[in-house]
């Protein structure tokens, strides 16, 4: 009975793994039918007696579940958007350009979830259950600004009605609970703000882990350059003859380059000159990075001065100086870096990595300088807040004094002031949010404009001016543009970083980003198909997938820092936003724990935040890191050892077959020690290995070793012993001791199980 059950299970497993076998469909179909019939026949037989109906029911449910799962998988695949578009791009440009669009689509998915969180838990409750526009001061446009509130220039500056809307932090009310459902908006705002980072972190790390599993970590990049070029350079998705020609050309070029490279590695050049040039190049680049940082700081300081002047006196340029300068730097500096990098004379792949690193440093430096300058502004605003608070209190006292002196009472009714007339604080959070929104908008504008001018206009000019120009524009100087993968991917990553930073202060920013990504997908696929040509030189920075994910992770951390810092240290504005009136923003959480949750949870939190508990936890994490690092090093070493063993094993086999004389030094020494040369085994009978790949029958004539697979693992010592040990064909007992080296080789070379304790011990480390 049990044996029958086991067999049924085996058949089921066979059915599940049939698609992994490289057999012909016909063979698989017959096997499948056989296995399915067997399972059906005997599964029914198993369910005899009382539990028969239940058993049959269970079986039916299992089948339905499998079918349901399969349908769901099909449905999920059908739901993935833009698959056709991306496939189009892939067949024309190859998989590396398409990988940008796949990344864009992934970003879109991530942002959709963030949008869901932000809108569902913060914006919609405020709109549905909170107070409407115009009811309280923070939701109303001040009297002085009402005249210009609807102007186009005010709106593009995100002042006026935009400033006092759900787009920005300042709109949200600080009531502890709103509406029928008693929804706690301030708490939700804080938790969503933190949750956005948590979710993004989880998704990015999960994707990185998945990529690392699938494709290897690119650690051994240098090992197999030629083989990889040979075996993996052709992109099977290419369906367009022009692209195929390009691909041929690039493959040929890369072959020739690597061959020359190999030869050049032996050449000895003027090391000192090269080093000097490299140092010079790095100095130049550092200077330009410093220069750009200073420029941004200067411009932001000027914008603060401008903010205090009358709006009408400023030109458009002066109003948008900051964004303009930042975008300009982003456009101009990367080509500058590339030009300076010519001095360095690196291998193209290394040069690409340097270039990406430098662009990254540029963007980071710019962003952080911008943040620091902004920070000064925030502090200034906080200072001015104090004055305004004093002014408000003064006004209130004055009103009370006037009233009581006029009516001669001490019971003063509250002041009845229209919300638009109330004195307002500067609300630094909205100002910060506004800066991020303006930056994002200008980034979008610059990107789209660049594509329009740099790619589309260029293509139009090349195509139409070619008829009346002296040299061939298409083949010669401007020609058509190539799609700049790394530039675009970096742009996407930094845009996301800005969104992460600004989402806490401007909840509408996430919605804006979704619109941007959506339009970007359509716009860029159109531009690529219409105006770009496939790359001439294709060298993929292998493992670049994880490289960009790693960058994204870094940017996530860096954008997390300012937000967490402001939550923890800066005090919120006193009259705008969901945290107004509190000392610090996270006080909401403390309040909730104190008032709404049972007492013991409060105690738990107090204990958990005790430094005495946190320090050991941090120490434990550091130790775990160290341990995992050591384990991974151990695995790498084991890998190297295994390779060496495989090599030795093969050498031994070959030599045995060829001249029966060991060339392995260890074996030779051993042979000299032992009598009768008993270490050389008699010619081993070639047994067919347990799994024989379906190799062509014609191969049999060429020698049996062709049908062998090297099994990397030791033969399973727990295999049923299929034949009795028989006459000892191995070395005599007394040679067991020093055997491990060569014996291992023999043990690995034979298929079949030798059910002795030998093999497992030999493979221990």
């Amino acid at each position: 009975m049990a044996a029958l059950k086991e067999e049924v299970e085996e058949k089921k497993k066979l059915i599940a793994t049939l698609r992994n076998k490289p057999w012909r469909m016909k063979r698989r179909l017959t096997l499948l039918k056989e296995a399915q019939d067997f399972v059906e026949k005997f599964e029914g037989a198993l369910g005899k007696g009382k539990g028969r109906k239940l058993f049959a029911f269970k079986v039916m449910m299992a089948k339905k579940l499998i079918k349901l799962k399969r349908d769901f998988e099909n449905f999920k695949t059908a739901c993935i958007p833009w698959e056709g578009k991306i496939k189009d791009v892939e067949s024309h440009f190859g998989s590396s350009v398409a990988s940008y669009f796949i990344f864009l689509r992934w970003m879109y998915g991530l942002n959709m979830v963030l949008l869901g969180l932000m809108f569902g838990l913060v914006v919609v409750p405020e709109v549905l259950m909170g107070l409407p526009y115009g009811s309280i001061p923070r939701k109303t446009v001040p009297r002085e600004e009402q005249a210009t509130a609807m102007d186009y220039s005010t709106l593009t500056d995100f002042e006026g009605y935009f400033k006092y809307s759900i787009l920005f932090y300042g709109y949200y009310n600080n009531e502890r609970q709103i509406g029928l459902l008693k929804f706690r908006l301030p708490l939700s705002y804080l938790l969503v703000g933190v949750g956005i980072f948590g979710y993004s972190l989880m998704v990015v790390i999960r994707t990185m882990a998945r990529n690392a599993n699938e494709g290897g970590d690119g650690g051994d990049e240098g090992d197999f350059t030629f083989s990889w070029k040979m075996f993996t350079s052709w992109d099977y998705l290419i369906g367009n003859p022009e692209t195929a020609d390009n691909k041929y050309a690039s493959i040929t070029t890369s072959f020739k380059e690597s061959i020359v490279d190999e030869q050049m590695n032996q050449k000895d050049e003027n090391i000192h000159l090269r080093r000097f040039l490299r140092v010079l190049a790095n100095v130049l680049i550092l200077c330009s990075l410093g220069g750009s940082g200073y420029l941004i700081y200067y411009v932001v300081k000027r914008s603060q001065v401008f903010a205090n002047m009358n709006k009408d006196d400023l030109t458009w340029m002066e109003k948008n100086e900051v964004e303009f300068v930042m975008s300009l730097l982003g456009l101009v500096c990367p080509p500058l870096f590339e030009a300076i990098a010519e001095l360095e004379d690196y291998h193209p792949r290394i040069a690409l990595k340097w270039q990406l690193g430098r662009i990254f440093a540029l963007f980071l430096g710019n962003l952080y300088t911008f943040l620091f300058a902004l920070f000064d502004e925030v502090n200034a605003k906080l200072e001015s807040e104090k004055d305004i608070k004093n002014a408000t209190i003064l006004a209130l006292n004055e009103y009370a004094a006037n009233y009581s002196s006029y009516y001669n009472t001490t019971n003063v009714p509250p002041q009845n002031v229209h919300p638009a007339d109330v004195i307002r604080g500067p609300c630094w959070e909205t100002a910060v949010g506004k800066e991020f929104v303006k930056l994002t908008v200008s980034d979008i504008q610059v990107t789209y404009l660049t594509i329009l001018v740099g790619d589309f206009l260029r293509a139009v000019i090349v195509r139409f001016l070619n008829y009346c120009w002296c040299w061939d524009l298409e083949a010669g100087f401007p020609s058509y543009g190539e799609f700049d993968i790394s530039g675009n991917v970096l742009g996407l990553i930094f845009n996301q970083g800005m969104i992460w930073m600004g989402a806490f202060y401007a909840p509408g920013l996430v919605g804006l980003n979704i619109l941007r990504l959506l339009s970007s997908m359509y716009y860029q696929t159109w531009a690529v198909m219409c105006t770009n040509v496939p790359h001439e030189r294709v060298f993929k920075a292998s493992g670049s997938n994880n490289f960009y994910m790693g960058l994204l992770l870094l940017v996530l951390f860096l954008s997390l820092l300012p937000v967490v810092y402001t939550i923890m240290t800066l005090s919120p504005s006193f009259d705008c936003g969901p945290f107004s009136g509190q000392e610090k923003m996270y006080d909401v959480v403390m309040e909730t724990i104190d008032q709404d949750l049972p007492a013991f949870i409060g105690n738990i939190f107090v204990y958990a935040t005790n430094p005495g508990l946190i320090m050991p936890a941090v120490l434990l994490m550091v130790l775990a890191l160290y341990y995992l690092n050591a384990v991974s090093k151990g695995y790498q070493q084991a890998n190297i050892d295994l390779k060496k063993k495989m090599q030795m094993a093969r050498e031994e086999e070959k030599n045995r077959r060829n001249n029966k004389d060991s060339t392995n030094q260890v074996m030779k020494d051993l042979e000299d020690l032992l009598p009768n040369k008993s270490l050389i085994p008699p010619p081993a009978e070639e047994e067919p290995p347990p799994r024989s790949p379906k190799v062509k029958p014609g191969a049999a004539g060429k020698g049996v070793h062709l049908q062998r697979d090297v099994s990397l693992a030791a033969p399973n010592p727990r295999d049923p012993v299929t034949r009795d040990p028989g006459p000892r064909r191995g070395p005599p007992e007394n040679a067991r001791g020093p055997q491990p080296g060569p014996g291992r080789g023999r043990g690995g070379g034979r298929g079949g199980g030798r059910g002795r304790g030998g093999p497992p011990r030999q493979y221990e480390y």
């Binding site: 993929k540 390779k643 495989m646």
Partner: protein, 189 residues
């Protein structure tokens, strides 16, 4: 068991789903594209075999330097002429699909690159491989000297047992470390 007329039976469809890495839509699309290649009378016969020339008119295969080898490897005909039935076609698509495992892909890649079908990649195979990759014209081909150097480098890297050929396990070992292989060894209709 084969395809009759223009409809794929439901049983057969679910069996194909079980046995390949393709989803239902992909199998139906493959069926549609395959029947487009058939002439009118062939459409009524079950289990028709489509000759290699017609298969090679598919745009996905037309520009591929290994198209003839692919047809040859997946063909089950006795004459070894590269003709494919619908099931062979499904086999092909399954091996080249997105969800196929690395083992399957590397197994078939090895068979495709093995031009003389002897179970190993020796110098002759590698030379033919390089010539396929560098295109047909004389100016794009490598010189004999470059070819020799290239093949030496490759054998140095991948031939672990130093027997002058690359066998299946060495090939799989090289391929498994490559991050690009799975994403480039794909054909989608």
């Amino acid at each position: 068991m084969g395809t009759t007329a223009s409809q794929l039976g439901k049983d057969l469809l679910s069996e194909y789903q079980e046995l390949t890495f393709l989803t239902k839509q992909e199998i139906l699309l493959a069926h549609k594209r395959f029947t487009e290649l058939l002439t009118k009378d062939e459409k009524d016969l079950p289990n028709t075999r489509v000759p290699a020339e017609r298969i090679l008119t598919l745009p996905e295969l037309k520009s591929n330097p290994f198209r003839k080898r692919i047809c040859h490897v997946f063909s089950t005909s006795e004459q070894k002429d590269g003709s494919l039935t619908f099931e062979d076609f499904l086999d092909l698509l399954s091996a080249f699909s997105d969800s196929a495992t690395l083992e399957i892909k590397s197994h078939y890649a090895f068979r495709i690159f093995d031009f003389d079908d002897d179970g190993t990649l020796d110098c002759g195979d590698l030379e033919k491989l390089v010539n396929c990759l560098t295109g047909e014209t004389d100016e794009t081909r490598l010189t004999t000297e470059e070819m020799r150097q290239l093949i030496n480098n490759i054998l140095e890297e991948s031939d672990i047992d130093k027997d002058g050929t690359v066998n299946l396990s060495e090939f799989q070992h090289v391929i498994s470390r490559s991050p690009d292989f799975v994403s480039s060894f794909k054909i989608v209709l």
